[in-house]
């Protein structure tokens, strides 16, 4: 029996240390609050206030209610009116209290005073910081044109600075959430159905009768609504099929678990589709009506027998057949989940397309229990003056020639911008402005990121914590945490339309400022003040809301206003329209063929780890988001380091056991920080696994510093998806250094 307990410290202190703790007079407060907070308390309101807002511990944006007790944040609960949280936040959202009371928060603007990466700064006033930034940005514009500034952003909080960057005149606005995450999935689905699955995904999990998860580890990956619906469909007796090299939490709930060899998912998908087509298990009426190129598709996949796939994937032919038949039994309420973090092997768009096609065979796109057609409230944007038109196109993918399906005007490829910053081609990039993203963790190959940074005349990092990226910045701008600020409205495409408000529940303790204020003040300095014609954020929000027939006062009270339910399935009257060239679901893609790519997905073998090495795969912890929560004292109490999952027998052969500390060394000789071994029956023998976001080396993150190992550091190698520029990252091999 393998027992894991989340109360290490709890067990530890039942020994002698307890006397010490008591004697040293440690106060029994949850998270020690800074002086600034204690002072604020005096002026605060007595008793309990409840203020609605929405969460920012991840991008899901769940509606929350903050409880303020005697002027201090007590707890956060879900807003029952919100369709994303349904009144229940996920563990990170519940632990958001720890984000606000993090003693290591950035407190004042900083300007670097020694060489880059040394983490040595002087505190300056906001005005000094803005003057510094504006001088550099003006010089960059004069010397190289406005296109030489790039903006890297994550999250809704980045909207106002995005607006500023467009007003400044750069087209190079980019987010790792595309080329390092969901990009391949979005493009694969767009090539097939003419639309992508969006965020939050349009997956109708709660109504699905059969859910297929390929590498998606719902329950460990805590996208709140998805996990809630996953539990609901499971409770309703739904069938679950899990494909994963690791026996995930979801695998523990599955009827069929397929322990696939990493990198071979396309082989499995092709064999599944062959079984379903050969045995006539697909939705013939749906395919006849909406499909394009089905006969060519059928001919193309006819070669992929389960026996062939067995040799590639290690999944028994009978298990492939049985799970394929299981899916067909419940169609169209069979949902093959699109996944979200899909940048694995560099052929990820084709894998996503195979997933899309399997859904098409089930007839699940547009159907109840499959993928619904989301609705959105109509809330007009602020009537801003038109942006200047950049003279040069985007730097990452000139003329769409390199990556034909990373469509111009839609997403920009982070690694394309980084590459241009290093080479100066097709034109130089001289300034990076970043918001809410720690590029040292978000992008593969940290050396390349550093190399690019060394070519910059200006790196501005806006964040709440001193991340690794901040360590390289020329200017660090301390932002208020989400509980202390307004942000733009959340008007999301979802099962039902809604508009949600993020509003401050308390003041910032030090010099931190909200992003809208930062953008507006910097615009003034840059002579772009006319792009911010409102005096403050409430005026901005009011104008947008009034145009939509809503009121800010009402939204402040409720946190969310829901619109009228609309039809979301074909069977409810949604027109079955597909925005593809053929106006149909493209089983065979002429677009792909024209650009010299496989019109029907094909399987390519990926390199396997040499003997003695393991493939490094990574995933999510339910209590952490990216690399931004490990310093949160409440969440660190749940999990303060990651573990290296290794198959029990493989560990025995290496002479290591659970609880030992080891280091990883990758194919390029990079050695990790030490990480605790978890020898387990829950993973294959040919790969090792860890959760992402640990192993911080920013000294200013006092809780997270050197706790666990960083997968990002080990990902020196990546394979670029030729269709859209995504970086496949599961291709790194490691040995274990005892």
């Amino acid at each position: 029996m393998n027992k894991t307990v989340s109360r290490r410290k709890f067990l530890k202190i039942s020994g002698a240390t307890i006397g010490l703790l008591a004697a040293s007079g440690t106060v029994g407060s949850l998270v020690k609050k800074t002086n600034a907070f204690t002072e604020k308390k005096k002026g605060g309101v007595n008793g309990i206030q409840k203020i609605p807002t929405f969460c920012d511990l991840c991008f899901w944006k769940c509606g929350a209610i903050a409880y303020i007790k005697d002027g201090e944040l007590w707890k956060l609960e879900g807003n029952p009116e919100d369709p994303l949280s349904n009144g229940r936040l996920c563990p990170r959202g519940t632990g958001g209290v720890g984000a606000m009371y993090d003693p290591d928060r950035l407190k004042a603007p900083l300007i670097r005073k020694s060489e880059r990466g040394k983490e040595q700064w002087v505190e300056v006033t906001w005005d000094e910081a803005f003057t510094y930034i504006a001088d550099k940005m003006n010089k960059i514009k004069a010397d190289y044109g406005p296109e030489a500034m790039a903006y890297f952003v994550h999250g809704i909080g980045g909207n106002f600075i995005k607006h500023l960057m467009k007003a400044y005149g750069t087209p190079n606005i980019t987010a790792p959430s595309f080329a390092q995450c969901r990009g391949p999935r979005d493009i694969g689905f767009r090539l097939t159905f003419g639309e992508d699955v969006g965020s939050p995904e349009r997956t109708d999990i709660k109504n699905s009768k059969c859910l297929v998860l390929i590498g998606s580890h719902l329950g460990e990956n805590m996208h709140n609504t998805q996990v809630q619906e996953f539990a609901e469909m499971n409770d309703n007796g739904g069938s679950i099929i899990v494909v994963d090299p690791r026996f995930s939490v979801a695998a523990g709930k599955a009827k069929y678990y397929l322990p696939i060899k990493p990198g071979t998912d396309i082989a499995l998908l092709l064999a599944w589709m062959k079984v379903i087509v050969d045995e006539n298990l697909y939705d013939k009426e749906y395919v006849d009506k909406y499909g394009f190129g089905f006969e060519q598709f059928k001919a193309e996949i006819s070669q992929y027998t389960p026996e062939w796939a067995y040799a590639e994937t290690g999944i028994e032919p009978e298990l492939i057949r049985a799970s394929a038949r299981e899916m067909a039994k419940y169609r169209p309420a069979t949902l093959i989940h699109s996944g979200r973090h899909t940048t694995w092997y560099g052929d990820d768009t084709q894998r996503s397309r195979a997933i899309a096609l399997l859904n098409a065979l089930m007839g699940s796109w547009g159907r109840k229990g499959g993928y619904f057609y989301p609705a959105m409230m109509s809330v007009p944007g602020y009537p801003y003056p038109p942006y200047p038109k950049p003279e040069k196109g985007k730097v990452d993918n000139p003329g769409n020639t390199i990556y034909p399906f990373a469509t111009e005007g839609h997403d920009t490829i982070t690694n394309g911008v980084r590459e241009a910053t290093i080479t100066g081609k097709p034109y130089p990039i001289k300034g990076w402005f970043t918001y809410g993203t720690n590029l040292m963790y978000a992008m593969p190959n940290q050396d390349e990121t550093i190399k690019a940074i060394q070519n910059l005349d200006l790196l501005v990092v806006t964040d709440v914590l001193p991340s690794e990226l901040a360590g390289w910045a020329d200017v660090v701008l301390p932002e208020s945490v989400y509980l202390e600020r307004y942000d733009d409205l959340n008007v999301e495409l979802f099962r039902e339309p809604f508009t949600a408000l993020r509003q401050p529940v308390l003041d910032s303790p030090n010099e931190q400022k909200p992003n809208w204020w930062i953008a507006k003040k910097l615009a003034d300095k840059l002579g772009l003040g006319h792009f911010f014609p409102w005096n403050d954020i409430e005026e901005y929000l009011s104008k947008r809301l009034t145009a939509a027939g809503l009121s800010l006062d009402e939204l402040k009270k409720k946190g969310i206003i829901r619109g009228e339910k609309k039809p979301v399935y074909f069977e409810e009257g949604v027109p079955a329209e597909f925005n593809t060239p053929s106006k149909k679901i493209e089983f065979y893609s002429l677009q792909l063929a024209e650009k010299g790519h496989d019109p029907v997905p094909k399987y390519t073998k990926h390199q396997e780890p040499p003997s003695g090495s393991f493939r490094l795969i990574f995933g999510r912890s339910p209590v952490h988001t990216f690399s931004k929560t490990q310093n949160n004292r409440i969440l660190a109490d749940m999990s303060d380091e990651n573990e290296l999952w290794i198959n029990h027998n493989a560990a025995m052969r290496l002479g290591i056991k659970s609880g030992d500390y080891v280091r990883l060394k990758n194919q390029d000789g990079v050695v990790s920080n030490k990480v605790k071994v978890k020898a387990t029956e829950r993973i294959r023998h040919d790969c090792v696994y860890m959760t992402h976001g640990f192993g911080h080396n920013s000294k200013m993150l006092k809780q997270a510093f050197l706790k666990g190992a960083s997968d990002s550091q080990m990902i020196t190698k990546y394979k670029i998806d030729p269709l859209m520029g995504g970086t496949g990252m599961n291709i790194n091999f490691v040995t274990i250094e005892v």
């Binding site: 029996m1 393998n2 027992k3 894991t4 307990v5 989340s6 109360r7 410290k9 709890f10 067990l11 202190i13 039942s14 307890i18 703790l21 008591a22 440690t26 106060v27 029994g28 407060s29 949850l30 020690k32 707890k75 956060l76 609960e77 229940r88 936040l89 996920c90 563990p91 519940t94 632990g95 209290v97 719902l218 329950g219 460990e220 805590m222 996990v227 809630q228 539990a231 499971n234 409770d235 026996f247 939490v249 979801a250 695998a251 523990g252 709930k253 678990y257 339910p622 209590v623 004292r633 409440i634 109490d637 749940m638 029990h648 387990t680 029956e681 829950r682 993973i683 294959r684 023998h685």
Partner: protein, 179 residues
């Protein structure tokens, strides 16, 4: 008389620790301590693995050795629902209860008294569920009166297979796990 208890559906629990986090903020449990925790049992060899994940806490035993052994009268059974509680001001921090509890459910709070799950009695008395139950994103925890045949907990125990933990210790635990 009400008899409070919990029923936890392990089929739904994903081990996300939301219950642990919510308890921490609700009850201001100090850094380094938790009143509830997650246990994962794994059986078998890869890939034929069976796994159970469950959330655990004080079982509010009907026959509580922690109360019987308390020399100060601090550990006691509350008037309402048989909930086992500790009077902080009476507790000397002697740890007899910690030794007596077969579930490892107690710890000494940095302020010097024995602490553990209270079933969030302050919420229950106001008609709410305990914090862990009301936060759980999978709705896998149920709280209620085991003496009331119409309560959700009684109904679940009547219709599903269940077990309590370490029942052989004879403390009559009041938390039940559905398989």
């Amino acid at each position: 008389m009400a008899r409070f208890g919990m029923v936890i559906d392990t089929k739904k629990c994903v081990g996300c620790m939301d219950c642990v986090v919510a308890c921490k903020t609700e009850n201001n449990v100090p850094e380094g301590f938790n009143r509830d925790w997650i246990t994962t049992d794994v059986k078998g060899t890869f890939p034929t693995v069976k796994m159970q994940i469950r959330t655990e806490r004080c079982n509010h035993c009907d026959n509580p050795p922690c109360v019987d052994c308390c020399p100060c009268g601090a550990s006691h059974v509350h008037d309402l629902g048989g909930v086992v509680l500790v009077h902080h001001d009476k507790c000397s921090g002697c740890k007899a209860c910690i030794a007596a509890c077969p579930y490892d459910a107690r710890f000494i709070h940095p302020d010097g008294y024995a602490d553990k799950c209270t079933f969030c009695i302050h919420r229950v008395e106001q008609g709410m569920d305990p914090a862990c139950v009301s936060v759980c994103p999978t709705h896998c925890m149920y709280f209620g009166d085991l003496d009331d045949p119409n309560s959700s907990v009684s109904k679940l125990l009547n219709s599903r297979k269940y077990r309590a933990l370490i029942s052989e210790a004879g403390t009559k635990p009041q938390i039940y796990y559905l398989d």
